[in-house]
C-alpha cells in the first residue's frame, strides 16, 4: 500500500539524493581544480546541473506518487509543473 508516509519518504529521499550527489560532484570538482586537472570545471558544472535537476526529479516523484494514490487532480498539477520545467530547459 502506498501510504502518505511512504510518499513523504520518497520525496525526501529524492531531494536528499539530488543534494548529496551535487555536493559530492562539487567537492570533487574543487579537489580536481586544486590539482590543476581540466576535469575539475566539468565536475563543478555537473554538480550544479545535478542540483538544478533535483526539483524536476522531485516533481516527477509527485506525479508518480499522486497517480499511485489515485489523487489525479494533484498528479495533473504536478505534471503541468514538470512540463513547465521542461519548457524552461528548452527555451
Amino acid at each position: 500500500m502506498f501510504s502518505e508516509k511512504t510518499f513523504a519518504k520518497l520525496i525526501q529521499r529524492t531531494l536528499l539524493a539530488g543534494v548529496f550527489l551535487s555536493l559530492f560532484l562539487l567537492l570533487a570538482g574543487f579537489g580536481l581544480s586544486l590539482t590543476g586537472s581540466p576535469a575539475g570545471g566539468a565536475l563543478l558544472r555537473a554538480g550544479l546541473l545535478a542540483l538544478l535537476l533535483t526539483p524536476a526529479a522531485r516533481v516527477t516523484m509527485l506525479v508518480y506518487g499522486y497517480w499511485r494514490c489515485g489523487e489525479y487532480y494533484f498528479a495533473l498539477a504536478s505534471f503541468v509543473v514538470l512540463g513547465l520545467l521542461g519548457v524552461s530547459i528548452l527555451i
Binding site: Q12, S22, L85
Partner: protein
C-alpha cells in the same frame, strides 16, 4: 572580473552558510541578501548575481524541504498547486530580465526591497505582540486542509486552507519576482499563505520553501542556458548554503522567527538604500 582566491572562497562559503541558515529559519531563499552582496561587495554584473542566487535558492529549498516534508510541515498539495502559476511567472520573469539593461534590474530590485522590508517588520512585530489565533474555518473541508506537529505548542495543529484562486494569481507575481530579480519569491509566498490562505506561519514557511525550489529552478534553467551562471563562484556559495541549511534545520527547529524578522527588516532596508544608490 571576479577571481576566486582562497580568501574569496572562504568569504563566499561563509556567506553561503549564512544564507542557508536564513532559509531554514524564515522559509525564504535568501536572494534578497545574496544578489545585493554579489553586486555591491563583489561587483558582479546583476544578471550573473541573479543567476547565482537562483541556483543557491534551489540548494536551500531542496535541503530544507527534504526535512520539512518528512516532518509533515510542508503542505505538498498546496505547494504543488501554487507551483503551477509560480513556475509560469518565474519563466516569464527570467525571459524579461534577460532583455532588461542591468541598471533597470538594479532599480527594480531596490524598489522591491522597500516594501519587503516593511512587510518583514510588520510580520515580526505582529508575531511578537499578538496572540496566535487559529485560522477562520473555511466554507467546507478541502483537499488542501492539513495539520502538523508544532513542537512549540507540543500538539498537532490542524488548519483549513482558503482563497486558493486569488492565492494562485499572487503566486504568479511571486514567481515573476523570482525570475526577474533572483529572490525566490518566498518573501511573497509566506505572507500570502499565512494571511490569505490561513496557513499557520510554520507550515507557510515550510511550504514556501518547498515551492521556491521549483520556481528558482525554472528560471535558473533559462539563465544557465544563456551562460549567465558564474560556475566557480556559484559552486562555492552552493556548498556553503547546503552546510548552512542542514545546520539551520536542526539548530533553528524550535526557534521563534519573529525576532529574526525584525533584524532582517532593518538589514533589508539598508540593502535597499545601497542598491538604489548604486543604480542611480
Amino acid at each position: 572580473m571576479f577571481e576566486l582566491t582562497a580568501l574569496n572562497f572562504f568569504i563566499l562559503a561563509a556567506f553561503g552558510v549564512f544564507i542557508g541558515l536564513l532559509g531554514s529559519a524564515l522559509g525564504i531563499g535568501g536572494g534578497i541578501f545574496m544578489v545585493p552582496f554579489l553586486v555591491l561587495a563583489l561587483d558582479l554584473p546583476i544578471h550573473q548575481a541573479v543567476a547565482a542566487s537562483l541556483v543557491a535558492i534551489v540548494a536551500t529549498s531542496s535541503a530544507v524541504a527534504a526535512v520539512n516534508v518528512e516532518r509533515g510541515l510542508a503542505n505538498i498539495r498546496l505547494g504543488v498547486t501554487l507551483e503551477v502559476t509560480t513556475a509560469l511567472g518565474s519563466i516569464l520573469g527570467a525571459l524579461v530580465a534577460h532583455r532588461l539593461p542591468a541598471q533597470a534590474v538594479q532599480l527594480l530590485f531596490a524598489f522591491t526591497l522597500f516594501p519587503v522590508s516593511a512587510l518583514m517588520f510588520l510580520k515580526g512585530r505582529r508575531g511578537l505582540s499578538a496572540p496566535r489565533r487559529p485560522a477562520p474555518a473555511a466554507a467546507g473541508p478541502s483537499a488542501f486542509d492539513s495539520s502538523f506537529f508544532d513542537p512549540a505548542a507540543g500538539a498537532q495543529t490542524p488548519y483549513a486552507v482558503k482563497n486558493m484562486a486569488p492565492a494562485s494569481a499572487v503566486s504568479f507575481f511571486a514567481g515573476s519576482l523570482s525570475g526577474l530579480l533572483g529572490i525566490g519569491g518566498g518573501i511573497v509566498q509566506v505572507p500570502l499563505m499565512n494571511l490569505l490562505c490561513g496557513v499557520p506561519m510554520k507550515a507557510a514557511a515550510a511550504t514556501s520553501n518547498f515551492i521556491i525550489g521549483v520556481s528558482a529552478a525554472a528560471s535558473a534553467y533559462v539563465y544557465f542556458r544563456k551562460g549567465l551562471v558564474p560556475l566557480e563562484l556559484t559552486a562555492v556559495i552552493v556548498v556553503g548554503v547546503l552546510l548552512g541549511s542542514f545546520l539551520g534545520i536542526y539548530a533553528l527547529y524550535r526557534a521563534r522567527s519573529e525576532k529574526l524578522q525584525l533584524v532582517f527588516a532593518a538589514l533589508t532596508l539598508l540593502v535597499a538604500v545601497k542598491m538604489l544608490l548604486k543604480a542611480l
